[in-house]
Symmetry: C2
Subunit: 408 residues, 2 copies
């Protein structure tokens, strides 16, 4: 694989995003789990210190500058997902945002059912099933990673909402959001995309694709920190048509009027609820700014190059026959992580960690390698493939099946 | 008022909690809005630095230590509210937690209506009204600050849930949670207390009072920081009887089994939803620890002394006839803030701010003075009363009625 090593070196030397690596806290390990938790920007600590200074000095008066953070940071995120100013708000967790928007969508739709697929993130499926049940409908699940045609065929009059992950957390497969959205609209259903595994990794065109609704987290490719606040998107013309079920003062049209009756803001604010953590929001904002500065087109180009190089290295390794590449080989059909299948995936994942390669295990037999473009080098890619190859030389018996190694 | 100044000095000298003042970032201003946003513990920055270090060094592996933070911090908070280990979880915002618990309670109750009062915090009323409406019921509002007898009389068979703020955000009035809870139980209703304005200010006996449910924020007397994560309490025997509507992976009995079907944890975890901000949680924990260290009995004793001294100073001021003390004069019936009514409340609040006294205005005519026991001195109390008195000497015309000056 010497030619791959040489190629990786050349790619790193020519990488227009190479300078971003030193802006994150990284070390000598090969960290390939940025699709679970992105690395820490070195400037995040400074941004948090600033907010702590505001808290210490201004105390409650600090709210004069913090009160609109959810919308302000949403506006900074908007260009990364093809949204317009005023269509995105940051706050709450992804599952809470999904609950709010899915509930609102079903209430505004004719059909009581929600369509998704078995490969969608389990927390999403849990939320969606209960939302559908409360509306008197069902969650209808297609097999994992359905084609756009399969989705289009499954959308009928009983489907009020179709909701999928834009990139599958398991397989890394990229859904064709534009065609699925169009198919749903033809049948009168709304669409809600979970962008957690695509935001910050590839260009997203929510407005161009006339997407209705979207949610996503900011702690993966956006490097907002563990459990950082999530975001939600609602297309502008839907704002006043949708009523989300958690009526809180941050969603009121006159938040400080303190009226007992709820009167929702006509803007994206109506989808907010309570007081967000200003400290957590500062970290989120810093992560978003770094990705925005890098530029999503350059980020996507590097993600394609990183994942392509990894698949090539796997294919050329001595254990290629033992490994199934689950992620689509066509780069236009995948995100920024590559999943492989191996019967001893758990044991191999653990052995890799001992050798300072950090992948992610997904039960029962999947290993995910995430290639966060701002913090992964091409020599990381080839290094990981070579260490995987030599690790597999050791042979593994499948001895146990606990459910996880790390957190998505 | 020279005798009050002397008394304040003596009280400060004898204050067993005096040493806590230097553990917070304070300055020369008289900050009397700790009931909106508590001051910053000086050690919070250190705790956040530790978490940032864990993120930088461990990245995703940090979740091995973070995954149970919501319950761990809940267990630290439990003694402050008279709860048992395993009954409290920290995460989400107060309004989101209120939504979860109120929805679960109504689903488990016979009656579809919710009882509250017009003085409850507006965001609570917004949440509760929509929860009741979704259940086919109504939010029934008693006049502000009802007596326990008035509440007991209003609870009938249609009431599935009674929900009030333990201490009113406006008047500072302390509800008799034990008697109201008993009255609700006699009529087959559940009770949900919002502890935002009592937690950290006075002893709370949730288990002793057989309270069903409670929520609260951590950014007031608990000094968790702006928008810090909230908490929820569910009495242990109710855990498996209640199904909250936002089914997320942190509530699953096998979070990392990644089953498509939701199976709720039998523990307090079932009331959690998604991934909490680890950075925000670290700040919250530090605030809770300081209050726990001070001891809630000593904290309450100081709150009573501070508020009593302020009311005495108001009563003896030259403008006593212009001011109505809204908060109960009986210290057993109030929390740690004192609200006064004055026709020029807004203008007076602004003038006080210019003189480095920070109160809180509530439309149309209320000024709240919050006496967070860990960060307020007795000389602050007398100083504020004297500055209020001299400010009122200037006279004020009521010129405008915007809705707020600061954030609760």
């Amino acid at each position: 694989m010497q030619d791959l090593v040489d190629r990786a070196r050349a790619l790193d030397e020519g990488d227009p995003l190479a300078s971003f690596l030193e802006r994150f806290a990284v070390d000598d390990r090969i960290y390939l789990d940025g699709n679970s938790l992105g690395r820490m920007p070195r400037t995040t600590a400074d941004r948090i210190s600033e907010v702590l200074g505001e808290w210490a000095e201004d105390a409650v008066i600090g709210w004069e500058r913090w009160i609109d953070l959810g919308v302000e940071i949403g506006n900074e995120l908007a260009p990364l997902i093809g949204a317009s100013p005023g269509e995105v708000a940051v706050g709450d967790q992804t599952s809470v945002n999904l609950f709010k928007l899915a509930s609102a969508a079903l209430e505004a739709s004719d059909g009581p059912d929600i369509l998704s697929d078995e490969g969608n993130f389990p927390s999403d499926l849990h939320v969606l099933e209960h939302v559908a049940n409360r509306a008197g409908g069902d969650l209808i699940l297609l097999p994992e990673d359905p084609t756009s045609d399969a989705i289009a065929s499954a959308i009928n009059g009983s489907i009020g909402l179709a909701s999928f992950s834009h990139v599958s957390y398991r397989s890394g497969r990229l859904f064709d959001a534009e065609s699925v959205t169009a198919a749903a609209h033809r049948s009168g259903a709304m669409v809600l995309w979970d962008l957690s595994h695509s935001v910050g990794a590839l260009p997203i065109g929510l407005d161009a694709w006339t997407v209705d609704l979207a949610v996503g987290c900011t702690y993966k490719y956006l490097n907002g920190g563990p459990g950082s606040p999530a975001f939600l998107f609602v297309r502008e013309d839907l704002h006043t048509r949708l009523d989300q079920p958690i009526h809180g003062w941050f969603g009121h049209e006159d938040q400080f009027g303190f009226a007992t009756a709820f009167s929702p803001s006509p803007s994206i604010r109506r989808f907010l609820v309570g007081t967000p953590s200003v400290i957590a929001m500062a970290a989120t904002r810093e992560g978003i700014r770094l990705t925005a500065e890098a530029g999503i087109e350059a980020t996507r180009a590097k993600a394609v190059a990183l994942t392509s190089l990894f698949i090539e290295a796997i294919d050329r390794s001595g254990h290629a026959d033992d490994i199934e590449v689950v992620t689509p080989r066509d780069p236009t059909q995948r995100g920024a992580h590559v999943a492989i299948r191996h019967p001893a995936a758990l044991e191999v994942s653990r052995a890799l960690r001992r050798r300072d390669v950090i992948p992610d295990f997904r039960s029962p037999d999947i290993i995910r390698f995430g290639f966060a473009p701002l913090t992964t080098t091409f020599r990381d890619v080839v290094g990981a493939a070579m260490i995987l190859d030599s690790t597999l030389d050791d042979g593994f018996e499948v001895t146990e099946r606990p459910s996880h190694l790390g957190v998505t």
